[in-house]
């Protein structure tokens, strides 16, 4: 049974039906992970005890398999009376998992900001929130645009994990087709190409954003 090009084309629309879900999950997860990581990183810096607790949480998130985390929320929590829809579990799970990594990226981005910026903010009597939001965050984002973009692509590529908790995303859809027809090559290849194109688009967007940020620095 050779590769059937016509068959491959014919299943594209069916797989693309799952694209909005993949897209939505990716966008939501990127947003939630970015915000969550922000909160986690600044909590880690806010005090001694809170800092240790947050460091442990971040390490724990990064040191357990994402599938274990997803299964935990999806299968274990209902046992204790908390049942969430698959989509919510998926977004929550991926967001939390990647927030652990993003927090580390933020850390590097903040550490690269000269100490004098904090001093100046303090000498101008800015509140902690103003210091973070107006002085530190913009400079941090400029420092980390590239690695942050990498993680956004990673989040996109991690959406197939959600197939295991019955979120109808693209790879799951491809597998459904494959198990109906016993042809695996075409559906998997089609999904691979779609992911590749999406990832390239995101990477290009990040590159443009990065260039613009660098330009504003040079101006």
């Amino acid at each position: 049974m050779g590769f059937d090009f016509e068959y491959a084309l014919s299943i594209v629309p069916q797989i693309l039906k799952a694209l909005p879900t993949t897209f939505l999950v990716t966008v939501l997860c990127c947003f939630c992970a970015a915000v969550l990581a922000f909160a986690m990183e600044f909590t880690r810096r806010s005090g001694r005890i809170l800092g240790y607790v947050m460091r442990f949480i971040i390490d724990a998130i990064r040191s357990t398999p994402i599938l274990a985390q997803l299964y935990f929320v999806f299968f274990v929590l209902p046992f204790y009376g908390l049942t969430l829809p698959p989509m919510v579990v998926g977004v929550l799970g991926l967001s939390v998992y990647y927030s652990g990594y993003l927090a580390e990226v933020y850390k590097a981005g903040i550490d690269a900001i000269p100490r004098g910026q904090w001093d100046a903010a303090k000498a101008l009597h800015l509140s902690r929130w103003d210091t973070i939001s107006v002085i530190i965050a913009p400079q941090m984002l400029r420092n980390i645009a590239a690695p942050m973009g990498n993680y956004f692509v990673s989040i996109l590529k991690a959406t197939p994990y959600l197939a295991v908790i019955a979120v109808p995303e693209m790879l799951g859809e491809a597998f459904d087709i494959a198990s109906d027809t016993f042809r695996y090559a075409e559906p998997i290849l089609v999904v691979g190409i779609i992911f590749l194109s999406l990832a390239l688009v995101i990477a290009q967007l990040v590159r443009l954003l990065e260039e613009r940020m660098q330009q504003s620095l040079k101006r």
Binding site: D119, K122, A123, L124, H125, L126, S127, R219
Partner: protein
């Protein structure tokens, strides 16, 4: 305790430091510092590097904490740590050695940021005020540029303008000319002289002895975490009372 050298009899103390000690672990960076600075007075703090002069003025505006002793600003006690909006340290403004301008903001935004965040007025009013101050430090035409587009001397003048825009009652300078190329030092010193002549209370850590001679009411000489000598500049430069000061002067003059 040293008495201030002014003609008026009832002048309020802008800064009163008593028995202030600061430790980094075991190391005593400041040893029982006593210093009073009256309102409108201009004090130059000098001394060899590592003598604690920067640490001292960083304690005054709360950039450094201290472990014992007292700090009062206009008679209000300021503890070792900062405490919110009522902290009397809000009356201070500071200029740093490395300018520490915000690189992602224009010169004008650098100047108006703090007044805006403290709701000192409408954006238009604060912009106008900032432009006035920028005019005073002769850099108004660069208001829309970013710090990285300016020379070191220009950046430091912006930093002075930024500090002035908060209308502080006490101005602190932490070696404002040490990071500058030699040909830019004078433009900054000129602005500092101008600011000094407007009657602001100033505490300057600097090695610019010419500046000290020109504007300082008193010179404070520090060494190894202690205030060794406090004198009028003419006395300090001609007849230092201690060997340590004499030695220091022989190296910088």
């Amino acid at each position: 305790m040293c008495s201030s050298i002014t003609d008026k009899t009832e002048v309020q103390n802008a800064v009163t430091i008593s028995e202030l000690s600061k430790f980094y672990g075991e190391f005593e960076a400041l040893k029982h510092i006593d210093l009073e600075v009256t309102q409108g007075e201009r004090v130059v703090v000098c001394g060899p590097s590592g003598s604690g002069k920067s640490t001292l003025i960083r304690c005054i505006n709360g950039l450094e904490t201290f472990q014992s002793g007292g700090l009062e600003i206009f008679g209000e006690a300021a503890g070792g740590k900062r405490n919110g909006k009522t902290d009397p340290r809000h009356k201070t403004g500071m200029v740093f050695q490395n300018f520490n301008l915000f690189p992602h903001m224009t010169v004008l935004d650098n100047c108006t940021l703090s007044p805006r965040k403290h709701k000192r007025g409408t954006r238009d009013k604060l912009d106008a005020l900032a432009l006035e101050v920028l005019d005073k430090v002769k850099i108004k035409d660069q208001a829309d540029k970013y710090p990285s587009q300016l020379s070191g001397g220009q950046q430091q003048r912006v930093a002075i303008a930024r500090a002035l825009c908060m209308e502080p009652e006490i101005l602190l300078f932490d070696e404002p000319t040490s990071a500058l190329d030699p040909e830019m030092i004078n433009e900054v010193l000129d602005v500092m002289v101008q600011v000094a002549n407007e009657g602001n209370t100033m505490i300057c850590v600097t090695h610019e002895m010419g500046f000290a001679r020109k504007v300082a009411d008193r010179v404070v000489f520090m060494d190894a975490g202690e205030i060794v000598e406090i004198a009028k500049p003419e006395d300090f430069f001609s007849t230092p009372k201690t060997d340590r000061a004499a030695e220091f002067l022989s190296q910088v003059l």
